[in-house]
């Protein structure tokens, strides 16, 4: 066994771990006036991690006695993870500085969470999967409660923590019984043990527990109660991270556990997954309609987006051929990448309007933004159009690929419901655009936070949203290779 080779495949994770240590040490020694340098340092390190991801692309190897797998699927998800990290590291600092919150701790927590996501994406054993999951969500709890003298932040953090840990315990119970029935914790071995027979009662309990625990983490209705509170309570740009990062990890978990380990028995969980998808997108959209607080509205819209991605997973389960299965996994991956680009930025624009800390990002603070800050208003408009799913933005193709997958898998009714939901969602997204361009500003408009880092990140996100919307073919080959590593 060649351990040096094993270590090489871990290059992105190693870079991230070294980066965390460097950031923590630098935070100790930098004088207060120079703390801002932590942001470029973090972004530089993350770019290195991205390069490391490119280096391990195509390795497709199982390392460390089968506990860890570096395949194209995991490397693709790691690249998205690194991108999420770069955007978050750029968006958050000015929001923290205004509120006198520590930047070094934020960067360290963010990076720990990213490492957890990388481990989760790459795990080929339930033990690694669990450790990665917890490493991802625990910094998330702390980031939610990051403004520790703020009542809302505290409350959101504690609610997120209690319900998140409860869900982890349920997931673990399912994992334990899966181990009991199949006698292994290796993901591919579980698939082999389950193939060719129907589920016995014990395994049925295990699958139900796994389903509840995992869909809790992606905020699927009816397990979504923690989401709006946690997302509203957390510092706004951090909410952007929370709505994308841990969700990306949770979907990696769903792909690993349900598509890979429970793939052979997918007929047994298809119906539940499809129903959850419908409940999630419809429930999220309907409640979002009546929100006047844009932050809470975006929280519910994040729930609805989980529903669309779950529909992709349902398409995987219903697919009659390997080609359609691949297509549905590709659609999930594309949706995750597009969603990461648009959602962090959308939350961060809300954060930019909270320059005055006594304001709470209501719909009215967007009134007249088109005249007051044309660049930010245009960026927000593009992001909202993308969230709605209007071409030429990445959001359109994300929904389009999921639709194609559901139709090809024979779930036409699900496709119809997706379209109806997208139309429903247009109402509340476009309402913000109406406020920005067709309403007069308030008498005392909210000041806008125009930090350089935030502006750069916003520009990057919008460029990404449009580029992938005009030419989605750019990453299709990458997606094909990634989805291919599952089959």
């Amino acid at each position: 066994m060649n351990y040096l080779n094993d270590l090489f495949t871990l290059l992105p994770e190693i870079v991230l771990v070294v980066l965390v240590l460097v950031v923590i040490t630098a935070d100790l020694f930098l004088p207060r006036a120079d703390k801002w340098m932590l942001t470029p340092l973090t972004v530089f390190g993350l770019i290195l991690a991205g390069i490391a991801c490119v280096l391990v692309w195509g390795v497709n190897d199982t390392v460390f006695s089968g506990f860890y797998r570096v395949d194209d699927l995991s490397v693709f998800l790691k690249m998205v993870t690194v991108g999420v990290g770069i955007l978050s590291a750029l968006f958050v600092p000015s929001y923290l500085r205004i509120r006198r919150l520590p930047l070094g701790e934020f960067n360290a927590m963010l990076l720990f969470s990213l490492i957890g996501m990388c481990v989760l994406c790459s795990s080929s054993d339930l033990i690694t999967l669990f450790v990665g999951l917890e490493l991802m969500v625990m910094p998330g709890y702390l980031l939610t409660g990051f403004a520790k003298t703020d009542r809302y932040s505290n409350e959101g953090g504690l609610k997120y923590f209690l319900l998140g840990s409860f869900a982890s315990a349920i997931l673990l119970f399912g994992v334990s019984w899966t181990y009991g029935v199949t006698g292994t914790t290796r993901i591919d071995a579980i698939g082999q043990a389950l193939s060719g027979s129907s589920l016995n009662p014990a395994m049925l309990v295990a699958v139900a527990m796994l389903m509840v625990g995992a869909t809790f983490k992606v905020a699927a209705v009816p397990f979504h109660y923690w989401t709006p509170d946690a997302y509203q309570g957390a510092p706004t740009p951090i909410t952007g991270y929370l709505s994308v990062g841990p969700k990306l990890g949770a979907f990696a978990l769903l792909i690993r556990v349900f598509a890979e380990a429970l793939g052979p028995v997918r007929a047994d969980w298809l119906v539940v997954m499809a129903i959850l998808a419908v409940l999630t997108m419809t429930g999220g959209n309907i409640v979002a309609l009546v929100q006047t607080n844009v932050k809470r509205m975006l929280a519910y819209s994040a729930i609805a987006h989980s529903g669309y991605i779950l529909a992709g997973l349902a398409a995987f389960a219903a697919a009659g051929s390997v080609a359609v299965q691949r297509e549905s996994i590709e659609s999930i991956l594309f949706y995750l990448a597009g969603y990461a680009l648009m959602n962090i930025a959308a939350f961060s624009v809300v954060g930019m309007l909270q320059r005055d800390t006594s304001r709470f990002g209501g719909l009215r603070s967007f009134a007249g933004l088109g005249a007051r800050s044309p660049g930010r208003a245009a960026a927000m408009a593009i992001l909202l159009l993308s969230l709605t799913g209007i071409p030429p933005t990445v959001g359109f193709f994300a929904k389009w690929y999921v639709l194609l997958a559901t139709v090809d898998a024979g779930l036409a009714w699900l496709a119809v419901l997706i379209v109806l939901n997208a139309a429903l969602a247009a109402f509340y997204y476009l309402r913000v655009i109406v406020y920005m361009y067709m309403r007069e500003p308030e008498d005392d408009p909210a000041p806008i936070d125009a930090s350089a880092f935030g502006t750069v990140a916003l520009a990057l996100s919008v460029i990404g949203v449009i580029l992938l919307g005009v030419y989605p073919g750019a990453i299709l080959d990458v997606l094909r290779a990634s989805a291919g590593s599952l089959f």
Binding site: Y141, Y152, N154, K159, A169, F173, G180, G183
Partner: protein
């Protein structure tokens, strides 16, 4: 005593923890209930491991990992509870109602 005895105890532990989590309204007690659920899971993992036909260690290793993670989880949870007690002077989660529709 067979495997089923261990499984009954472990499931009971898990169920008591889950019931306590939903019935209790004190943040710290809810945290303790989560620990109880995790201990139920640990017991079942170790039991499953001991009754594997071939010599196995994965279940026992998993239980050790869960213990380590549970310790970290308790730390994070207590930190959040302390932070919220400082701003609200209570650990009763019923009183935390600032975030709502």
């Amino acid at each position: 005593m067979g495997l089923s005895a261990y499984l009954i105890v472990s499931t009971l532990l898990f169920a008591i923890g889950a019931f306590g989590f939903m019935a209790r309204r004190n943040g710290i007690l809810m945290l303790i209930c989560i620990e109880l659920m995790l201990n139920g899971v640990n017991l079942s993992l170790v039991a499953f491991n001991a009754y594997q036909p071939a010599p196995a260690v994965n279940g026992a290793i998993f239980a050790l990992m869960i213990m380590a993670v549970a310790a970290a989880e308790a730390t994070v949870g207590l930190a959040l509870v302390i932070a919220i007690i400082r701003t609200r002077q209570t650990a009763e989660v019923d009183q935390y109602r600032d975030l709502k529709e």
